[in-house]
């Protein structure tokens, strides 16, 4: 007996697998589900992993471990500044940065460092350690370090010192000695920045200002929202793909019940049968994972250059255009596919293990179990929804301190709970319909009764559709609401028609000149700096200070989320010494209007009262708003930007152009746009912000549509897989005199009915999802909350999408039914 055991397993497995030889469509559906789930997830993860690796390299380089020093007057740093600080005994180190253009139009960043003065712990300073290496670095012909993925590009540059490979460097970045960099960049005596080790607590001369490492937003932080979007959508695609797998496995099991019974009767132990089914799953899983990961990597490889370009344009982060995938990526891809497959197949194994051998293959016993399974499913789904409600209540009670993982757990509970409740709810709905339909509507009655019979097979595809529809509505409403809020907020915050960024020396002259111009209605100067936030006598870190001029136009439009009394009172309080804080700071520190906070100014410790909280979308940092005059006097903030509000005019564009030309001529200001140029047109700024917004969510929308497509595919494959059995159901009807065209219409109508029922549940679920995204996930991920917007158009679109998916999915099986010859229908009738 023991010698026969491996043979039993082998023969059992072979016999089980032979089922797919006769039903290749089922195998295709299974592998398709696995492939889609694994490919989209792996593709997204490959992009994320590659981008994170680039961020990690960039963060390590600019580390995060060094404080920056700049001139308080905003002027560029020079070699003289560096020498003056060194002579004063301050351990600062100079860095210069620039760009070297490549023949193909792209560019590489060049960083020059001074290795002897650079703080030892900084990654930039980490030489190989031996004297030869340092000598090579410091004496001709010098060395330039480059990451392996940028070596080919660096080689196209002429006049570079010999190249050294350094895998820790970020992509598209060269590092060399400061003297070499100054020569290559023609920077002469200019320095881009001065850095100092954060632990060095030194007193800086008043002309300089220090920015702590904590205050510098890292590239990874900035692009987090982008990657969060990708991950969430990848996860959704994975779940929907696994629903296809679950549906395929369920069908494969149901069709093989007779085979299982025969095998058991022929002497295959239940344990061996389950083991064989498990091995079958493993085999499918490995094939699906392999296919999925390979396609995912290819997909990522194709998308990465575009994603890198988008990230560069949006967040100025450099992401390598080639994939760098760590070992755990591959292992993770296989693990998630297998994990997903076994979780989808667990119920199949459990049911196969529990079914009595004498009852196996008896459809009635199986259906009786399905009915009890529906009840169990409803109970379990309801329990998950109760869990979601409790979690929502808990998260609401924690105020601003929300946990992102708990937020995602809430979304998962909500979606899974609703998906599990769908089949029993649809069954109930159909039961009600069947009861109240008029007896004369025989075909309609048959249609409903037949749909009830189909429900067990359709339920998984319907669950996948429910998830896709609600995600579509939820994410669509969230993005739509965000767009409305964001554009409104932009209009409120960008009040000036033109923003001028003069140098410190020009500031006063320019301000006076503008005040005298007849076309200028109001000037809105701003300044910014930072200060240490003190809480219970403990320094909790730096916070950004932003100075504004509380002119009437600003008071009318500046958005406020919460005030102690009303808007006017808040503005009066601001003028009398109170402050406004942004939502991020309020949530992080648990502050509300009326509370106080302490700041360490250059002169003393100041206690300030919070008069209002304002929205500050997209800013990862906490920020405090004060009158600009106060920022200049009490916090020694350097001059910043001058917002110019034009007087009402019939031709704004012409007036603006005239003013810009005058500014250029008088103050030698050049440039337009948004990037470090002294003149910024409000329209250009808004356009750029809107572009950033649209591009950030473009990929979300694409993945959303893809998920809906996958759900439609799930429905189609389910219908195709049971098409043969369905013909046996409709053949008697045909024999009774119902034409094939009516049968086709009935089939399409049945599916539309089921999809409409699903859409009815998807609407509240989608709205709940939007609520969770804007009130929980967004707050936990970014520190700010969005108002909830409901778009009737989006809801109508969800219903339309459901009908469209139903018609598209039913079309091929219906067409096949239409084409089936009467002879075959007769055979089906005889067999039915």
């Amino acid at each position: 007996m023991s010698t026969a055991a491996p043979g039993v397993l082998r023969t059992t497995l072979g016999t089980l697998l032979s089922h797919y030889r006769r039903h290749p469509g089922q195998l295709l559906m299974l592998l398709l589900g696995l492939w889609i789930a694994s490919a989209l997830w792996s593709g997204v993860q490959a992009i994320n992993a590659s981008a994170r690796e680039s961020y990690a390299r960039a963060e390590a380089l600019f580390s995060a471990d060094l404080d920056r020093i700049a001139r308080r007057d905003g002027a560029a740093l020079s070699l003289d500044d560096y020498l003056a600080l060194r002579r004063a005994g301050l351990p600062v180190s100079p860095i210069i940065e620039g760009e070297l253009s490549l023949p193909d139009g792209e560019s590489l960043a060049l960083i020059g460092i001074e290795p002897l003065s650079l703080p030892g712990g900084a990654p930039l300073a980490q030489q190989d350690g031996d004297a030869d290496s340092l000598r090579n670095w410091l004496i001709p012909p010098y060395r330039v370090r480059v990451a392996p993925d940028s070596l080919a590009k660096a080689r196209t540059l002429e006049g570079l010192p010999p190249l050294e490979i350094d895998p820790d460097l970020p992509p598209a970045t060269l590092v060399t000695d400061i003297a070499v960099a100054a020569r290559l960049l023609n920077m002469d005596r200019h320095i881009t920045r001065l850095v100092i080790a954060p632990e060095r607590d030194v007193e800086l001369p008043s002309a300089f200002v220090r920015t702590s490492t904590d205050a510098l937003a890292s590239p990874g932080q900035l692009a987090d929202s982008f990657h969060l979007n990708l991950t969430a959508m990848g996860l959704l695609a994975l779940v929907v793909g696994l629903f296809i797998v679950h549906a395929a496995l369920g069908l494969a099991l149901e069709q093989r019940l007779g085979l299982l019974r025969t095998l058991r009767a022929l002497g295959v132990p239940a344990r061996t049968l389950i083991l064989a089914l498990g091995l079958e799953l493993l085999l499918m899983g490995l094939t699906g994972a392999l296919l999925g990961i390979v396609s995912g990597v290819i997909l990522a490889q194709l998308l990465l250059p575009d994603v890198a370009a988008t990230l560069d344009a949006l967040y100025e982060t450099t992401v390598s255009g080639t994939l760098n995938l760590p070992w755990y990526y591959w292992l993770g891809g296989v693990a998630i596919t297998l994990g997903g497959l076994f979780s989808a197949g667990a119920s199949m194994l459990w049911r196969a293990a529990r079914v009595n051998v004498l009852a196996l293959g008896q459809a009635q016993a199986w259906r009786a179990r399905l009915r009890s399974q529906l009840r169990l499913q409803l109970l379990f789904g309801a329990a998950l929804l109760v869990g979601a409600t409790c979690l929502w209540w808990y998260l609401a009670s924690t105020g601003g301190q929300q946990d992102l993982a708990l937020g995602f757990a809430l979304v998962a509970l909500l979606l899974l709970g609703a998906a599990l409740c769908l089949p029993p709810l649809l069954a109930g709905l159909l039961g009600l319909l069947a009861r109240y339909l008029p007896r004369r509507a025989a075909l309609l009655q048959w249609s409903v009764a037949d749909l009830q019979l189909q429900l067990p097979q359709l339920s998984l595809a319907m669950m996948a559709l429910l998830l896709a529809l609600s995600a579509n509505l939820g994410v669509g409403s969230m993005v739509g609401g965000f767009r409305l809020t964001f554009l409104d907020w932009l209009d409120q915050r960008l009040l000036a028609d033109l923003y001028v960024r003069p140098s410190m020396e020009q500031f006063e002259d320019l301000e006076s000149w503008l005040q005298e111009r007849s076309e200028v209605a109001t000037l809105l100067p701003t300044r910014s700096t930072e200060a240490e936030l003190i809480e219970n006598d403990v320094n909790v870190g730096p916070v950004a200070l932003f100075g504004i001029a509380p002119e009437p136009i600003l008071r009318r439009h500046w958005p406020l989320l919460d005030t102690l009394e009303d808007r006017e009172a808040a503005w009066s309080a601001l003028n009398q010494g109170a402050i406004f804080i942004n939502e991020q700071l309020a949530r992080r520190q648990g502050l509300a209007p009326g509370d106080t906070l302490q700041l360490k100014s250059p002169a003393s410790l100041i206690t300030l009262r919070v008069a209002a909280i304002y929205p500050d979308y997209g800013n990862p940092r906490g920020e405090i708003v004060l009158p600009v005059s106060r920022l200049a006097t009490e916090f020694k903030a350097p001059s910043g930007t001058l917002g110019v509000v034009l007087a009402p005019t019939e031709d704004r564009a012409q007036t603006l152009e005239r003013l810009q030309n005058a500014l250029r001529q008088r103050f030698l200001l050049t440039g337009e746009g948004t990037d470090g140029t002294p003149l910024i047109d409000q329209q250009a700024l808004k356009q750029m912000a809107t572009e950033v917004f649209e591009r950030t969510f473009a990929i979300t929308r694409a993945l959303n549509a893809l998920t809906l497509g996958v759900a439609g595919l799930a429905l189609l494959t389910t219908l195709l897989a049971q098409a043969e059995a369905r013909r046996a159901q409709v053949a008697p009807l045909w024999a009774l005199g119902v034409s094939r065209s009516r049968l086709v219409l009935l089939q399409i109508g049945q599916l539309v009915m089921a999809c409409l029922g699903t859409a009815l549940l998807a609407i509240p679920l989608g709205l709940l999802l939007t609520g969770t995204l804007v009130a929980v996930i967004n707050v936990a991920a970014f520190g700010w909350r969005l108002p909830l917007h409901v778009f009737p158009g989006q809801i109508a679109m969800t219903v339309a999408l459901a009908v469209m998916v139903a018609i598209l999915a039913a079309l091929i099986p219906a067409w096949r039914l239409w084409r089936v010859p009467p002879r075959q229908l007769l055979q089906e009738f005889a067999a039915a």
Partner: protein, 221 residues
């Protein structure tokens, strides 16, 4: 070979418990053939399931080849079935995705006792040699039942349990299949317990019993 002693089996029904077998004793020696008759619902198939170890009695014991089935684990009962029994069902229960040859050798392969010469012999005797590469759906009803008999005999079992093996066939085909079954049983020397409600089918068997209201008694043909 097979010994059933004091077997009782009751099923719950909406009208209350139904005793299908009531203190049934049955013995079948090596090489013997026995026809078990009775009306529909008399418990014939239940008795066959108990003999095969597919189900366990509420009371009494089933010994197969000297081993008491109720004290064996499910895995050991399955092994015993695989190694010593051949089963033929009324509904054939062939594997539609396996060829005729693979269906024929399925249990022999499971038991690790595949014998090419015996397989060829069976294929020829069953009249399926020309259809070995086909699939069950391409065979007639009689051919399918012959294949099911071949599958049961392929591992050279000591006992063949047949549940209405001709119930799904027309009279002429049923007669052909029965003749073949009898001939193969004689060739292989295995014992046969056949459940049937037809006296004509039962006639060639050495012994005849009938199940009536849960009790086993001698049948008069």
């Amino acid at each position: 070979m097979l010994q059933l002693s004091g077997i009782t089996k009751t099923y719950p029904t909406p009208q209350g418990p139904l005793k299908v077998l009531d203190d049934v004793d049955l013995t079948l020696g090596a090489g013997e053939s026995l026809a078990l008759m009775g009306e529909s619902g008399s418990g014939k198939s239940t008795l066959l399931h108990l003999a095969a170890g597919l189900d366990l009695p509420d009371e009494g014991s089933v010994h197969l080849g000297g081993q008491r089935l109720s004290i064996l684990s499910e895995t050991k009962r399955a092994a015993l079935r695989r190694d010593r029994l051949g089963l033929v069902f009324q509904q054939f229960h062939l594997v539609p995705s396996l060829s005729v040859r693979d269906n024929l050798t399925l249990q022999a392969r499971l038991a690790g006792r595949e014998d090419d010469a015996w397989t060829e012999h069976l294929l020829t005797r069953l009249g399926l040699a020309d259809f070995a590469a086909r699939y069950p759906e391409q065979l007639s009803g009689g051919q399918q039942q012959r294949l099911a008999i071949g599958r049961a005999l392929a591992p050279k079992p000591r006992l063949l349990l047949a549940d209405e093996p001709t119930g799904n066939l027309d009279e002429a085909t049923a007669a052909q299949v029965l003749d073949l079954l009898q001939a193969l049983i004689d060739e292989s020397g295995c014992a046969l317990l056949m459940v049937t409600h037809s006296a004509r089918v039962a006639a060639p068997m050495q012994r005849h019993l009938v199940l009536k209201r849960g009790k086993l008694m001698d049948a008069v043909l």
